[in-house]
């Protein structure tokens, strides 16, 4: 029932907004639908906390502590993004960059995107997981090119082709997985792709097939996580699309893709008696972290800057999952949470700041703190949070990842420190110049929605100082499941 609401509401919302999306109050309907989805997510979570993992609808859906926390995170960021997009898109319309038809497309696709994300998270079927990931690309590709500028169309094309090809590799991996499973489960047909069944028999799956399958799936879903060297689409799509889309791409899509990789890793590790899967993930993660950190220095566009920062953080989380073990997994899950919260709130403030300045070029943005103190402070605090300054949650997760790396893989810790240090210097110097200084920026026609920004930053701060015991047991449970 909870699940039906959770999946049904965004689907219904997408249809509804396709019909009424041109009305002036469509953004309010969007917020309402997202709020309903979030409420369903809370209900589902309460159910899982009370009754433990659940399997529903002929075992087609499976909720355990690992995905339920991502479900609630996804629904929450969906809600805050819809709150943010309300004034943001009105201002865009006011500036004449978007018309009502494009707004209808945006609202309808946004709800459909939420549906694909939640479907990918809750499904038990590895094939449906793939279908949902591909559908997520399809729903966002027209949003990336929403402004119809040459640069945005180019970005959307690149996004489409690269992710399409990447996901084709993941489908091949899924076929190989099915091939291996069919050998053990017999010609059971529909059950051989169900994760719960696969997890029970993972010890008997053929290791050679599974290691090959994992390589394909890591490359495929890794393209969507934005792992280097397959990250090319990510900065373009983030920079050229409307800011609410950048926020959900960074805050949700990357997480869900990483979730898919981790689900595969659990199966492969159970079958292949070596650290192949973990080592591959550690390698890709470190490469992404370091490459993104150095590329940060060359950015001129503020949204590209934070897009590269997303690559860096996803690299770090992938590295942590690659190390494995209870502490590293705990840290990686925490990192996914705080990164989503911080990065989407950053994109919200960046969205308002660029609207005010009328440009995304960092050299032309100055003195945000005098022209609009809340935007300025929001950007500063968000930046400090994402850079891992102590009171915030990112510090906790990065610290945990670092000490685990020092204990288990000492060779990696200098590389990690180098990447984090370089990224810190690059981002901090840029943001400081934008926040302080003289300015003559005009005011915005619609008051910015900054409640979600500070609410999310407050959550990140709370997670840094104190993780509620409930949440901690939950993370620990999830970390144990991942192994």
């Amino acid at each position: 029932m909870e699940l039906l609401l959770l999946l049904g509401l965004p689907l219904l919302g997408s249809l509804l907004l396709a019909l009424i999306g041109r009305r002036a109050w469509a953004p309010e309907v969007n917020v309402l639908m997202s709020a309903g989805t979030f409420a369903a997510g809370v209900w589902l979570t309460a159910h899982v906390i009370a009754h433990g993992p659940m399997l529903v609808w002929h075992e087609q859906f499976f909720i355990d502590p690992f995905n339920v926390f991502l479900v609630i995170l996804t629904a929450f960021i969906g809600l805050t993004t819809s709150l943010f997009s309300r004034p943001y898109l009105r201002t865009e319309e006011h500036h004449g960059r978007l018309n009502r038809r494009q707004l209808r497309l945006y609202h309808s696709m946004f709800q459909l995107f939420m549906f694909t994300m939640l479907l990918a998270l809750t499904t038990n079927n590895m094939g449906i997981l793939w279908v949902a990931m591909e559908a997520a690309t399809l729903t966002t590709v027209l949003l990336v090119s929403l402004y119809r500028t040459p640069a945005s169309i180019e970005a959307a094309w690149k996004y489409f082709i690269l992710c399409g090809v990447g996901l084709a590799q993941a489908l091949f991996g899924t076929i190989l997985l099915y091939f291996a499973a069919e050998k053990v489960l017999g010609n059971a047909g529909s059950t051989a792709l169900l994760w719960t069944h696969l997890n029970e028999i993972k010890g008997q799956l053929e290791p050679t097939v599974l290691s090959l399958a994992f390589v394909f799936m890591l490359v495929g879903y890794g393209t969507k996580v934005g792992l280097a060297p397959l990250h090319n689409w990510l900065p373009d799509a983030h920079a050229e699309g409307p800011t609410p889309v950048s926020a959900v791409l960074s805050g949700l899509l990357l997480n869900v893709a990483l979730y898919a990789v981790v689900r595969c890793k659990v199966l492969v590790e159970g079958s292949v008696r070596s650290d192949l899967a973990g080592d591959l993930m550690m390698g890709f993660g470190l490469l992404s972290l370091v490459l993104a950190a150095f590329l940060l220095w060359r950015q001129k566009d503020i949204k590209r800057l934070f897009a590269y920062s997303s690559i860096e953080h996803m690299g770090l989380a992938t590295f942590a999952f690659g190390m494995g073990g209870p502490v590293a997994n705990f840290a990686a899950l925490l990192h996914m949470t705080v990164h989503s919260l911080t990065k989407s709130s950053l994109f919200f403030t960046v969205g308002h700041a660029t609207q005010q300045a009328g440009t995304q070029v960092m050299d032309k943005i100055h003195g945000l703190i005098t022209s609009n103190p809340t935007v300025g402070w929001g950007l500063m605090l968000g930046t400090l949070a994402i850079l891992g300054m102590p009171p915030f949650g990112v510090f906790t997760s990065e610290f945990l990842i670092l000490i685990t790396a020092m204990r288990d893989h000492p060779w990696a810790s200098p590389i990690l420190l180098l990447g984090l240090g370089v990224a810190f210097a690059a981002i901090f110097s840029r943001v400081q110049a934008m926040v302080f200084g003289e300015t003559r920026l005009p005011r915005l026609p619609h008051p910015p929605a900054l409640v979600p920004v500070f609410a999310q930053l407050a959550l990140v701060l709370m997670l840094g100082l104190y993780i509620p015991p409930h949440l901690a047991t939950w993370y620990r449970e999830a970390a144990r499941l991942i192994g």
Binding site: W130, A135, I175
Partner: protein, 221 residues
């Protein structure tokens, strides 16, 4: 049921045809001919799935064969033809990179695909054991085609040919994926085709051409 030896030979024949068609696509310059080749590839895929369905008596394979026939032989080529006409691109051809080198690279990819699939093919006990390597080779050749071409339409055909290779892998290594998954994949392919169609018009509107050479403003930096 026919004799396993005969049907497995038929499937091997289809596999060889698929590979041959992939090479033909790799070296074909004219856009419309490329669409026809793609339709033929879909047709071969349909026949091979029918043969597997016939020889194993798996009812669900008939459905996926029908799905292939409708989607890959009729619907997608039709959409592509109409799109190309409406874009006025039917006489367009494109200059290829050095054909000899492309073919050589293709051959190397086939060898690579066979070596990669070797240990897995030996595990297969289906009637179609030898064909996984060919399926992987078809995927990789389509990939090569996407890399070497600069026109939006040909890149899309490469993308669809890759999907053909994957479908062939699904029927040759296993007897087809579960029906829900296959339907979902087919839906995704169809929707992506529609979106790409919209895209073609956007691209032409902005760049006055479907040539991707014009799209080089967003560089890695």
């Amino acid at each position: 049921m026919t004799t396993p030896a005969f049907s497995s030979q038929l499937i091997n024949l289809c596999a060889a045809l698929l590979l041959l068609l992939s090479f033909a696509m790799l070296s074909q310059r004219r856009v419309l001919t490329l669409v026809d080749l793609f339709a033929m590839q879909g047709g071969t895929l349909f026949i091979s799935i029918m043969v597997v369905a016939w020889s194993t008596g798996q009812p669900q394979l008939y459905y996926s064969a029908a799905l292939t026939l409708i989607l890959k032989v009729i619907l997608l080529p039709l959409i592509l033809h109409r799109l190309i006409r409406r874009l006025g691109a039917q006489w367009e051809s494109e200059t290829l990179l050095n054909t000899f080198i492309t073919m050589l690279a293709g051959l190397l990819l086939v060898i690579f695909a066979f070596t990669l699939a070797q240990p897995i093919s030996q595990l297969a006990n289906t009637v179609t054991r030898g064909t996984l390597g060919i399926a992987l080779a078809v995927v990789m050749l389509a990939f090569l085609m996407m890399i070497t071409r600069r026109k939006a339409v040909t890149q899309v055909i490469g993308f669809l040919a890759m999907e053909n290779g994957l479908f062939f892998a699904a029927t040759s290594a296993t007897y087809g994926m579960p029906m829900v998954v296959e339907l979902g994949v087919a839906l995704d392919v169809l929707v992506s085709m529609v979106i790409l169609g919209i895209f073609f018009f956007h691209i032409r509107e902005q760049f006055d051409s479907l040539d991707l050479h014009h799209m080089e403003s967003l560089k890695e930096d």
